[in-house]
């Protein structure tokens, strides 16, 4: 497969290691993602895929190695880290919408407080985004009044409102009832088609086949395979990938 040239990479992860106590959760992980690329990270639970995703905006610290976004290494703390996080959108498994704010306020908080937009400008943009994810009519409600699928779409709009260079999705559909998964995946597929750079930790093979350029398979803290979706699903190389696929396919 044509790996993007080094200079083209938006995200460069280089020999990253991470331990949780005695557990070695990320082992010499290296990954490059080009602008506009959609990478699905897949693997059994405990394989380190969520940790990797969270390390990219430093919600998890790393022990060694480097993570570089758009040419800049992630600062360990302070204002520089906040600036970087503003450029990296994050969508969580459990949505994590701000429970005390309305849907509209959830989407405008970052643009007003971090991007210093006026309230009116932030609300105008927020409504465009909420419309795009199909929940504009819920703008004045609180998150608890929405279904899980609606909440997750608001969470995507909240991340998009920061105009991120890169979007991270940490199992975005795993906490959803089955009938709500597709409404979220459709939004994500739309984003991918519009050229957003995305790293998606998910087990949704339909999404991987439809929208992903690459599938990265992780097991025991290592990247075991890094290939196209059709290669991975139809002709997996490693025994671990074969075993994993047989489990989720018969699941």
């Amino acid at each position: 497969m044509g790996q993007p040239a080094q200079t083209d990479s938006l995200l460069v992860i280089e020999r990253v290691n991470k331990h949780f106590g005695a557990l070695h959760v990320l082992k010499e992980v290296s990954l490059r993602v080009a602008p506009g690329e959609v990478v699905v990270v897949i693997g059994p639970s405990g394989s380190g895929k969520s940790t990797l995703c969270r390390a990219i905006n430093r919600l998890e610290t790393i022990d060694d190695g480097t993570i570089t976004i758009d040419g800049a290494e992630i600062p360990s703390e302070g204002a520089g880290l906040a600036t970087l996080r503003a450029d990296v959108g994050m969508v969580f498994q459990s949505f994590n919408l701000f429970a005390h704010l309305t849907v509209l306020e959830n989407v405008t908080l970052g643009p007003i407080k971090v991007r210093k937009l006026s309230k009116a400008a932030a609300e105008e943009r927020a409504l465009v985004l909420l419309n795009r994810v199909g929940v504009a009519n819920q703008a004045q409600k609180h998150p608890a009044q929405l279904s899980g699928g609606q909440q997750q779409r608001v969470a995507i709009a909240r991340a998009l409102a920061m105009e991120p260079k890169l979007m991270l999705f940490d199992e975005p559909t795993s906490a959803l009832d089955p009938e709500m998964i597709n409404e979220v995946l459709d939004v994500m597929i739309g984003l991918a088609k519009d050229g957003m750079t995305m790293i998606v930790v998910t087990h949704e093979m339909g999404f991987a086949r439809k929208a992903a350029h690459r599938v990265v398979f992780m097991a025991d803290g290592e990247i075991v395979e890094d290939t196209t979706p059709s290669e991975f699903f139809d002709r997996p190389n490693s025994p671990r990938a074969k075993e994993f696929l047989s489990k989720i396919l018969t699941g």
């Binding site: 906040a82 996080r85 969580f92 459990s94 994590n96 908080l109 991340a159």
Partner: protein, 215 residues
């Protein structure tokens, strides 16, 4: 009971001082408690440690001892505080950690994902605490904060041992002047405390119910 109505001005004088100590101490110690609580969850280790040490030391020292330290140690260092100011300082130093712990327990009741989401849209630590975590912590924090204020109300009585004329001082003076009516005198003192503490407790109950409904 005539001893109460007959000495109402003295009671009211003590009551006024007690209320004054309570209000001023709360106004200073509560923001201080917010700062200490924020330090204890701060990403900077030295802030966390100093806040924890301060909390543990003051929380585990009897209030009377804090007053004694102030009364005997400060003059040795060449400063002497006015008695009322000294009482406010001692009560504030002692109460702030209790406020801080109440606030911290409220902060801990907010799911960690809320702070993660705040950080992931680029909010800094202070913004995350002020805009996302504290507004959600406030619901669970009001009842324990009121408990601290009720305890503070009664703790103001310690100041009467250090030359501040509180309700208890009024009681002491009246009791020694009216040896035959000590019980009535002390009941009078208790009633004035209750005038402060019962409404506080009712407020906490009301708030808890209100939150239970809106949640």
């Amino acid at each position: 009971m005539g001893v109460i109505s007959g000495n109402l001005p003295l009671y009211l004088q003590g009551f006024g001082t007690t209320l004054f100590l309570l209000l001023i101490t709360t106004v200073i110690a509560l923001p201080l408690g917010v700062v200490i609580a924020a330090m204890r969850i701060s990403p900077i280790a030295s802030l966390r440690t100093s806040a924890a040490v301060y909390t543990e030391v003051l929380r585990n020292t009897p209030l009377t001892l804090v007053f004694f330290f102030e009364a005997f140690v400060l003059p040795k260092l060449g400063t002497r505080l006015d008695f009322e100011v000294g009482a406010i300082v001692a009560l504030t130093l002692y109460t702030a950690p209790f406020f801080a712990e109440a606030i911290r327990s409220g902060i801990n009741s907010v799911p960690v994902g809320q702070a993660e989401a705040a950080r992931s849209i680029g909010l800094g630590f202070t913004q995350t605490v002020m805009l996302v975590v504290l507004p959600q912590a406030i619901r669970s924090v009001i009842p324990p904060l009121v408990n601290v204020i009720i305890a503070l109300t009664k703790n103001t009585s310690v100041a009467s041992g250090f030359f501040v004329f509180t309700l208890v001082s009024a009681g002491q003076r009246l009791a020694s002047a009216n040896g035959d009516q000590v019980i009535a005198v002390l009941v009078g003192v208790a009633v004035f405390y209750v005038i402060i503490t019962i409404p506080l407790g009712r407020f906490a109950d009301w708030f808890e119910k209100r939150v239970a409904v809106t949640r």
